[in-house]
Amino acid sequence: MIEQMTTFVDALSRYPFLQNAVLAGVLVGVLCGVVGTFIILRGMALMGEAISHAVLPGVVLSYILGATGFFAGAVLTGTIAALGIGYITENSKIKDDSAIGILLTGMFAIGIVMVTSLGGTNVDVWHILFGNVLAVSRTDLWITFVITIVVILSVLVFYKQLILSTFDPTMAKAIGLPTKWIHYILMIVLSLVTVVSLNTVGVILVVAMLITPASTAYLLTDRLPIMLVLSSTFGVISAVVGVYLSYIYDVATGASIVVVAMAIFTFVFFFSPKQGVAIQWFRRLSTGKV
């Protein structure tokens, strides 16, 4: 264990690609932790899943057209999916989980069709789907950094609008907050988060980074600011430990990160002081109620 850590630290000091990987992981951990908190509190986990898959055609399109349109393409198809889901539920009797299912798979399939139709080009579908953290460039890092800072500042500035529209959308609407806009801006942020997480965890697993650390934090606190901090912390821990494990054991980085996030969740689920399932069981046992 000690030896492996020394190896990792040694490699970290030597290889810029590994430094970039860890930095990207930290940024993605913070970003997903913050955005994910609002996603799960708004009951939009499935929506997050949909948007993250729906960016695929946009990403493929930007690969074809060149890197300049990378974000634009992804945000475009992500937003189309978000609007499409809203449009279907508002204009028919289709429930939103079905609308999400249709667009999630549909957009994803369009992306796959686009990739496969390109044949022998340099678009590596594996990397888009599962990430390729070792390919993170300095530019990617800067973009991720800027987006993370913008998201954190927005949450700080618009904290009261966010908490009210999430907790009590009716009052938010009654006092004139633009609840629809808040919803769609969150969807756009989701598309952005997916794109910047592309190299680290990939399209398929990014939703885990949004939902798992936030859910873990949700089990541990009764206060939103603390939940935001905890969620980001779990995101960062998952990312760093995940990159470490993937380097040492030579396994897929994105998956490794998600496995760590899941392990933390599992531990907290059973052993959190207030709501832990095992803790409650022990408590009942000691009071003789089992």
Binding site: L41, T170, M171
Partner: protein
């Protein structure tokens, strides 16, 4: 004197189905008004239409003599408890301080004064010892009092309460009705969506009977007649005892 609320030929429909049909009424200030009617009668819809939260087919609504978006601060809303996620990571005092949000600029944080106002409101509903509790740790009646405290903190002239007495304890109910009467005495106009017909006459001096259209509106002792009640509830009402004025919805 300006009316608190003027509603003129208001109609609302969802998916082509008419939920509210040609409702017109005026409410003076300083009134405690009960809104009764069966499920799907359009009670919540009407509140939301008055607050400008849903598109209307036709009709005019004026609140305190103005268009609603000019007086949003002056309208407080207490939601149905079933609409709230009580697992939300928020403390009681944080909920009450939300009542101050309409008075803050978009970039402003609640000040010390806002927090003080919030704790005064919490004291008014007898919940001052629960400020640091998570909202879901309270009983239904206590939660309802917290949301009323939030409305008090808003210091608005018009209040809408959606079923505040549904499934709460007697103490909470007494505290709430006492406060509503006090607010009325201070000149506020309060609308309460209500289900329990046995309390209608004791609680409300003005009553609105709604079933897609306005069946009756006026002084409770004038409009709350067996015929109108029966019409409001599509005849699904049995009168139990004449002298106690007990009514049961069946």
């Amino acid at each position: 004197m300006t009316q608190a609320i003027e509603v003129d030929h208001l109609s609302v429909s969802y998916y082509g189905k008419t939920v509210l049909d040609d409702v017109s009424f005026e409410a003076e200030t300083a009134q405690l008004i009960g809104i009764i009617g069966p499920n799907g009668a359009g009670k919540s819809t009407m509140i939301k239409a008055i607050m400008g939260m849903i598109p209307t087919n036709q009709g005019n609504v004026r609140v305190l003599g103005n268009r609603v978006d000019q007086v949003r601060k002056q309208i407080a809303y207490v939601p149905q408890r079933s609409m709230i996620d009580f697992d939300f990571p928020v403390l009681v005092e944080d909920v009450v301080v939300m009542g101050r949000y309409p008075h803050l600029k978009w970039w402003q944080r609640p000040s010390k004064k806002d927090r003080e106002k919030a704790s005064d409101s919490l004291r008014a509903v007898g919940m001052e010892d629960y400020g640091k509790r998570q909202i879901g740790e309270l009983s239904g009646g206590q939660q309802q009092r917290v949301f009323l405290a939030r409305a008090l903190a808003q210091e608005s002239d018009v209040l809408f309460l959606d079923e505040p007495f549904a499934g709460i304890d007697v103490t909470s109910e007494e505290i709430i009705i006492h406060l509503l009467r006090q607010l009325k005495a201070e000149g506020k106009t309060i609308f309460v969506v209500h289900h329990d017909l046995s309390k209608v006459e004791t609680y409300f001096d003005t009553l609105m009977m709604l079933n897609r259209t306005l069946i009756g509106y006026g002084k409770t002792n004038e409009v709350f007649t067996p015929d109108r009640v029966s019409e409001t509830y599509d005849g699904n009402v049995a009168r139990l005892s004449g002298n106690q004025n007990q009514v049961v919805i069946g």
